[in-house]
């Protein structure tokens, strides 16, 4: 039994690891939003396995015994076959709008990706059937295995490139299958097959049978095709695969002024997951030098230095160091550079000497970490805090990362930054221009709102908006801009052909250099500084969603409204739509696909089965409803908690992996412990969960903000205190429900598995959608409601160890009541 549990743990670890690695591989080979879409559908394989088993009449213990080992072996084999076949399909998603062949290939990819998940889930389902008196033990082992898979993904992505990393899940699954084969009934054939599978999967790790190829439409293969181009550095990290390419013809000067007439220095291109992330510039000297670094004075990031006196600078999102060099070139004496991707810092260090305390006269510190955590904990004050758009800016402009949480650009973040300024300090936020304006408008509204929190009196004269041909920079100065400040900014802007769209005292500034269709930024700034109500009205009436993001809804790159969709289609401006928000559209597509397939594979068959059943006691609807509810609730709670605790713990990858692993481990412990609890207590557990999640919805974000400035150990304990009891209880619900139907276990277990699997898959995009539209607090409320519902279903249904329709319970109650009034 222990071996079986360990084997199930291996299969669960392999499945989750495969899912995470597929997301990384798809992000490299295509784009991020494709990854979410494909994986979302592939996970339907989990639910489909249960539906197939149920359709075949469920499983008996003997059938489970016979097929458990083969299913585990098939899982390991499929984890090799799937990537091999996947990389032989010529999928070009840019042709989806006009090529039916690509749709067929995409459909085949969906089925192919679903296969290993379906087989792995089948093996686990069979294991649960074998352990039907103690399903918590097996289910808990699955949770623990998944936790291991989540932690292993971080380790694997540090040391292996995406091609080789994709071979690891098969090896883990093969280990699990081998354990089953060796420990079960002795069969020479099975033993040999298991050994062969283990050998094959080991070999594939050493010599993968596929190669992850970057999309030809991405920047990396294009730059590598330049004359004399060569790859000079490569770094792996969970945050992305970093590649550096030197090519004499590569040039990088984002937003360079039209008035600049000089040359560009030699540069090395940096890519993350195949997309351009910036460049390392090879200055002639390591010391700031007017001649060598002249170009830095003609980039948008130079605007705040026109004010003079920016001696202490904090650079958030320092990337390859261009902003740091700019600070030095403008006379900064103290620079703190924060970059979350340490692999990017390492690659830059490999290529060129980064400015450090040892190499320059300035005091420079590089911090590999999360910007919000650094700002929350530092006691330093800065003359300038600067945020510039990321190197490749592909996500911001293309909407590809519309759904990526970004805590750096929320109102709460801007308020934190403003509070770290010196008395004369300035916050500078630069975004790429878009047509019609979106991110720039949001930054203006968010900065105004942050100013109102920190220094309400300064809102009117503390904001400047500057617009070049390609970028918008918003400056915020709590002390207010003086006339001397404005003169310096005007002089700089005129020489760089930058328009000042808003400044204190402006009425209706006229654009001189970069003519917009509409002076949208003027309108936005005017509304933002006038009054919170006018700012809110402006955001409500704007065709795109531009209201400031908050820590409860940290999606500052998401702009599409469903209403805007209809407007654009009606107006004939359909050419705008493809570039609006691929991430959000992909989320809607994933949800639609999941709901449709879940309906086809679970709801309709369950409803048909209920109509054919012999009586109410055999109805599947309570089974489907209960397990679907806890599937939805689990995903909703998991996503909300991960999002908020990521802000608390800092670092988007380690925090997510750590929190996810913790949730899964605690749920695993809860599952295992639930075998000691009577099934009827599912009601109490559901009610307790509903209450706890409702409380978390009310207090979690406030607690996060309260603990954020404290040392990591304290934050970790706080996170664990909040997380452990909830996750433990969440893990109990599934096994308690299973034992409630153990008396009729074969088919009902399959339906339970299927409905829970499908609900989890539908729950992921649905929860993401709720988080985007209504925030994580609402998501927790939804999770609370769903668990309460599950508890109610359990209350009305569980009788001893059998599952019966609530109606018979009600009838029994009425009978007793009638007898009491009319004693016979």
């Amino acid at each position: 039994m222990t071996v079986r549990a360990v084997a199930v743990g291996c299969l669960a670890a392999a499945s989750l690891l495969f899912e995470i690695l597929l997301i990384r591989v798809f992000a490299v080979e295509h784009f991020h939003h494709v990854a979410y879409m494909a994986i979302g559908v592939a996970m339907l394989g989990i639910g489909a396995s249960g539906t197939v088993v149920a359709a075949l009449g469920g499983t008996t213990t003997s059938a489970a015994q016979r097929w458990f080992a083969p299913a585990a072996l098939a899982t390991a084999v499929s984890l090799v076959v799937t990537p091999v076949v996947l990389h032989r399909i010529a999928l070009d998603l840019t042709q989806l709008t006009w090529s039916a062949t690509q749709w067929l290939r995409l459909g085949f990819v969906y089925v192919l990706l679903a296969l290993p998940f379906a087989l792995g889930a089948l093996a686990m389902l069979l294991a649960i059937t074998l352990e039907h008196t103690r399903p918590g033990w097996i289910y808990g082992a699955g949770f623990l295995g998944s936790a291991g898979g989540a932690l292993l993904s971080v380790v694997v992505l540090w040391f292996l490139d995406p091609t080789r990393a994709l071979a690891i899940p098969a090896l883990i699954a093969a280990l699990g299958a081998a354990m089953i084969a060796w420990s079960g009934a002795r069969s020479t054939g099975r033993f040999a097959v298991a050994a062969l599978t283990l050998a094959l999967t080991s070999l594939v790790v050493v010599r993968p049978l596929w190669r992850v190829a970057v999309s030809p439409y991405k920047a990396l293969p294009q730059v590598e095709a330049y004359p004399d181009a060569r790859r000079v550095a490569e770094r792996l990290s969970p945050l992305g695969w970093v590649v550096a390419v030197q090519a004499p013809a590569f040039r990088y000067a984002p937003g360079l002024s039209l008035a600049y007439e000089g040359d560009l220095p030699p540069q090395t291109a940096l890519f993350v997951d195949g997309e351009l992330a910036g460049a390392v510039t090879h200055w002639a000297t390591n010391e700031p030098d007017r001649g060598a670094m002249e170009v830095l004075r003609w980039l948008p990031l130079a605007l705040p230095y026109a004010l003079g006196g920016r001696l202490r600078v904090l650079v958030l999102g320092a990337g390859a160091g261009m902003e740091v060099w700019a600070a030095l070139a403008h006379g900064a004496r103290r620079v703190v550079a924060v970059e979350v991707n340490s692999a990017l810092i390492d690659a830059t260090t490999d290529l060129a000497q980064l400015p450090t305390r040892a190499t320059t006269a300035a005091q420079i510190d590089w911090i590999a970490g999360d910007a919000r955590s650094v700002v929350a904990r530092t006691r330093e004050r800065f003359d300038l805090i600067t945020l510039v758009p990321g190197g490749g800016i592909t996500g911001a402009a293309g909407g590809l990362h519309a759904l990526n949480e970004d805590f750096m650009h929320t109102t709460d973040a801007y308020a934190d930054y403003l509070q770290r300024l010196t008395s004369d300090g300035v916050l500078a936020v630069t975004r790429w221009a878009s047509e019609p304006p979106r991110s720039s408008v949001r930054v203006i509204l968010a900065i105004a709102e942050a100013m109102r929190r920190v220094r309400p009196a300064a809102t009117q004269n503390g904001i400047v908006v500057a617009r070049s041909w390609g970028t918008t920079t918003v400056l915020a100065k709590p002390a207010g801009f003086s006339e001397a400040d404005l003169d310096r900014l005007r002089t700089w802007a005129a020489s760089r052909q930058v328009d000042l769209d808003w400044f204190p005292g402006a009425s209706s500034p006229e654009a001189q250099y970069n003519i917009p269709d509409e002076p949208t930024l003027v309108y936005a700034a005017r509304a933002a500084v006038a009054h919170p109500d006018s700012a809110r009205r402006f955001a409500d009436e704007y065709p795109f969603a531009v209201a400031p993001a908050s820590d409860a809804r940290p999606y500052p790159h998401r702009f599409l409204r469903a209403g805007s969709l209809r407007t654009f289609l009606r107006s004939g401006s359909a050419s705008w739509l493809p570039f609006a928000e691929w991430g959000y559209i992909a989320l809607l597509a994933t949800l639609a696909q999941s709901v449709l397939l879940a309906g086809v594979f679970i709801v309709i068959p369950a409803a048909l089965h209920s109509r054919r059943s012999r009586g109410p006691s055999e109805s599947l609807l309570p089974v489907v409803a209960y397990f679907a509810a806890i599937g939805l609730g689990y995903m909703a709670a998991e996503i909300a908690v991960i999002q908020q605790l990521t802000l608390l713990l800092g670092h988007p990858v380690y925090a997510v992996a750590g929190v996810l692993a913790s949730i899964l481990m605690c749920s695993g412990a809860g599952s295992m412990w639930s075998d000691r609890v009577a099934p009827r207590h599912a009601t109490r557990v559901g009610a307790a969960l509903g209450g706890a999640l409702a409380v978390l919805a009310a207090v979690l974000l406030a607690l996060v903000h309260h603990f954020q400035p404290l040392p990591f150990a304290v934050r970790g304990v706080a996170a664990a205190t909040l997380l452990v009891p909830v996750a433990f209880a969440m893990g109990m619900m599934f096994p308690l429900g299973l034992r409630g139907i153990a008396g009729d276990h074969g088919k009902r277990i399959a339906w339970a598995w299927s409905s829970n699997g499908f609900a989890s898959v539908v729950g992921a995009p649905l929860a993401a959608l709720i988080a985007v539209e209504a925030g994580s607090q609402m998501l927790l409320v939804v999770a609370a409601a769903v668990y309460l519902l599950a508890g109610l279903i359990a209350r009305g249904s569980v009788v001893g160890h059998s599952w019966s329709w609530p109606r018979s319970r009600l009838l029994a109650v009425f009978d007793r009541a009638a007898s009491a009034r009319h004693p016979r």
Partner: protein, 240 residues
């Protein structure tokens, strides 16, 4: 007997040639009809009015500029791959960019990013003298031979670095960049004649970009205007 055999063979060949010629003519007629429909629906229908542009779009056989297996898609309104990660722009964008530079006979136009040569052919069909640069040698060579075969004499194709423009042929009445860039190369602005116009997609590479119109006035000052969002391949520098 041999004479009879020869005559039979000759007659068969003649019929075959005539059949092939008839087929080719039918194909040309079919593509021509689709080209007219494309212009009516996707170009005139979307607001393009310039007569020179419309004439050029009706005249240039777009199907000659796409891979053979995609010819049936040549007159649909979307980009098509042409190899090496490059694409031929959708017809509407080609027409839009052409109209923006105000084509007229004799004007000198610099195009950066030859690709298949379609945009250059359209510009040449308006009577402009076109200088076009392509960074990928295979594309430059195939575009050159294709344009020569189709009789576009007003186009000079060079394999070279688009960032540096074409100083020996400057100044230009118009500069048209069909490959995206994260910045506007100073050389292109310098080589634009006063009164000239440059159209360039800028913004993020391989994400969504926006067309920028750069106008240089009589005194040499430049102003920009954002046009509509598009998607292009990136501008690449350096011969290969």
């Amino acid at each position: 007997m041999p004479r009879l055999l020869f005559c039979s063979l000759f007659a068969t060949a003649l019929v075959t040639v005539e059949t092939s010629a008839q087929r080719a003519a039918d194909t040309d007629a079919r593509f021509s009809a689709r080209r007219v429909a494309m212009v009516d629906r996707y170009i005139v229908g979307e607001g393009i009015k310039d007569s020179a542009t419309l004439h050029a779009m009706r005249a240039v056989p777009r199907h000659e500029f796409v891979p053979a297996d995609l010819r049936d898609k040549a007159y649909d309104n979307h980009p098509l791959p042409i190899g090496l990660g490059q694409t031929i722009s959708q017809p509407y964008i080609v027409a839009f960019m052409t109209e923006i530079v105000r084509p007229r006979p004799g004007m000198r136009v610099l195009e950066v990013g030859t690709g298949s040569g379609y945009q250059a052919a359209v510009l040449a069909a308006t009577g402009a003298q076109v200088y076009t640069i392509e960074i990928f040698r295979p594309l430059a060579d195939s575009a050159r031979s294709r344009l020569e075969r189709l009789g576009y004499r007003g186009v000079t194709v060079r394999h070279g670095d688009g960032h540096d423009g074409w100083p020996e042929a400057a100044p230009f009445d118009a500069v048209m960049v069909t490959a995206a860039a994260g910045h506007i190369p100073p050389a292109l602005t310098r080589q634009l004649r006063p009164g000239g116009r440059m159209v360039i997609p800028v913004g993020s590479v391989y994400g969504a970009q926006y067309l920028i119109l750069v106008e240089k006035d009589a005194k040499g000052a430049v102003r920009t205007r954002n046009l509509l969002p598009v998607m292009f391949v990136p501008m690449l520098s350096g011969p290969r």
